[in-house]
């Protein structure tokens, strides 16, 4: 190998570029170019029929600022993120701690927790629609046995979004559990042994050893969960269609609606650009924090 590089000093660069080429081409064609095209489109009006698109500058963004549904979608999305991210992380860690120990039926339990992840979202959403159905849905049958009256979960603006959040948490927690399982195996057992010799309580062991040592995983998972929260769209389409009265309209769903129901592609491009900026900001945050090496003190 070394003789080859010495004989053809340029070759190594070409080789490197060739190796990276497939990834570069794919990223350019399907991520970067469409992204740039979207930003450019957001400065133009929507072309209708044979009329070409006219340059309108920031008009689409002004529309966006004045659009109550766009703001509602952003608010719903922030709620979605603020509530589902900590919940799925907590649940994931709890499940991981449980199935990491030596218990009977460990493999079956792990599989059970992981199953929601391997189900396609649309299939899962349809199962949950049945859970939420008024009167004879599973959830309502249970609460009726407990003496409460049946509730129209997806048909009430107060409960529709939380109902979707539950599906999201249910779907994501199992996936994040896998990361925590891997992280828990990296914690040196000597630390636990030392703690046991010091007679440390369970909570103290968790707070002083486990939690700090899985911190990098927590951060990684948190950022991913945050990004996922802004990419939620399947369950909205499958379960509520954004209703009732936009109570479950999230950013990505609204973009789809503006782009493919209203065919207002210029405005949809502006909305996409905003979402893109938001996701970019989150990623930036991720790299900043990751770079600072979050670890126990």
């Amino acid at each position: 190998m070394s003789t080859i590089t010495r004989r053809h000093p340029l070759n190594i660069h070409i080789q490197g570029w060739l190796l990276a080429l497939p990834a570069i081409v794919l990223l350019l064609a399907f991520t970067h170019l469409p992204g740039i095209a979207t930003i450019i489109d957001s400065f133009y009006a929507t072309p209708v029929g044979k009329r070409p698109a006219a340059f309108v500058g920031l008009a689409q963004y002004q529309t966006l600022l004045a659009d109550p549904i766009a703001w509602l979608a952003l608010r719903n999305n922030l709620l979605m993120a603020l509530i589902t991210v900590p919940l799925s992380i907590g649940l994931a860690l709890a499940m991981a701690l449980w199935v990491a120990g030596k218990i009977r039926g460990r493999a079956a339990l792990r599989l059970a927790f992981f199953t929601p992840t391997i189900l396609p979202m649309v299939a899962a959403a349809n199962i949950w629609i049945f859970f939420y159905t008024p009167d004879y849905g599973l959830l309502n049958q249970i609460i009726r046995v407990l003496g409460f009256s049946s509730h129209n979960w997806l048909g009430d603006p107060a409960t529709a979004l939380p109902a979707l959040m539950a599906v999201t948490v249910w779907k994501e927690a199992g996936f994040f559990m896998v990361f925590y399982l891997a992280a828990l195996q990296q914690v040196p057992p000597v630390l636990y042994e030392a703690a046991r010799m010091e007679n440390a309580g369970r909570w103290k062991v968790f707070r002083r050893i486990t939690w700090p040592l899985v911190m990098p995983t927590t951060l990684f998972v948190a950022v991913n969960a945050l990004i996922n929260a802004f990419r939620v769209v399947d369950q909205v389409i499958a379960m509520t269609g954004g209703g009732p009265n936009n109570a479950t309209t999230l950013l990505l769903f609204y973009i789809y609606q503006v782009g493919f129901s209203f065919w207002d592609t210029g405005y949809a491009a502006a909305l996409s650009a905003v979402l893109l900026a938001l996701l970019g900001l989150i990623s930036l945050l991720q790299f900043r924090l990751m770079g600072r090496n979050v670890h126990y003190r």
Binding site: V48, S149, G155, D156, G243, P244, S261, F262, W263, D264
Partner: protein, 428 residues
Amino acid sequence: MNMIARLTAAASLTVSALGLSAASATEITFYYPVAVGGPITKIVDGYAAEFTKAHPDITIKPVYTGSYQDSLVKAMTAAKAGNAPDVAILLSTDMFTLIDNDMIEPIETLAKSEADQDWLKSFYPAFMENSQSGGHTWGIPFQRSTIVQYWNKDAFKAAGLDPDKAPQSWDEMVDFGKKLTKRDASGAVTQWGLEIPSSGFPYWLFQALTTQNGAILANAEGTKVAYDDPKVVEALQFFADLSQKHDVMPKGIIEWGTTPKDFFEGKTAMIWTTTGNLTNVRTNAKFAFGVAALPKHVRGGSPTGGGNIYIFKTGDKAKAAAALEFARFLTTPERAADWGIATGYVATRPDAWQTEAMKKYVEGFPAAAVARDQLKEAVAELSTHDNQRVTKALNDALQAVLTGTKTAKPALDQAQAEATRILSAYKN
């Protein structure tokens, strides 16, 4: 076999192969949605095969494209990419959207002969209202419907009502509903009187109420709406009162898709839904049920609904001609009758009801003719330019009122302002 014989055989094979490919030269793509229960794809594939048998020079490629909404997205995306379907079944209300995007051919530019003109006149006028604009015919009625009421005769009997009589007026509907709503000891409802669905496209069912209250929601040019008409406000108040005041209907949003199931399960004694669900109800209801025209208030009536056949602009004359031929084939009296019997959609032309098959069907199942008889009082389904956005303004208002977050008047005023703003671009 000697060399010459072999060569001849090969040559004749080639010729026949060439002949075949020449005969099936025109291949047209046909997009269609499925919006009601039943083995729809099998029936449509059957029609396509039958057509190719009768016209060996044309091959139909049927493509199932999901719901109406999905189908429009797919057809428009394909058309924008220069790969439009030749013929598609889409909502009759998508007409203005398709015209504004310059995607469809006016039918009469293709269908010029006298027989063609007669063909265009053979459909029920109520169905043509959503198919014509600006002096052109843009769509051919295919799977069209109206809203009808279904009622559970056993439940009526149990409540001491005449099982053969559906409510004739709004007051009667509320009155029947109160008798039909049953509660258990704890006060929880075990059977509702009525369900009018309000998810997805509540404007359509609401339009039945506005029609019955004497209001017309949009002008024929699709440039103006009357959401803030006092009669519309009144109709919405009544819609909301059904659940919030009279307590005969479940509160909140009632899911369109599960309404027939609620009916089969005995969770509700009366439902409003499309006549397209007729065969579905007939197959799945385990009790005696009735079908009737909707109750009257100031007048009777229902909006029409459902899908038309559209011919897309592809620039290929042979394909457009083949598409027209296929549209004609799908709408013959016999096939309109067959399709109506298989699904419950209203056979789209009067002479379809004179066919032997249809006469026999109606004789054994008189409910099948209810939707047809209601056509006399039917109005065009709400449809405007930028249709999805303009109807969404109304949908949002309806859902806000039905869920109790707004009251009728301000909600509709806001919807009107929004719709007027959107439509201002289309006034000449």
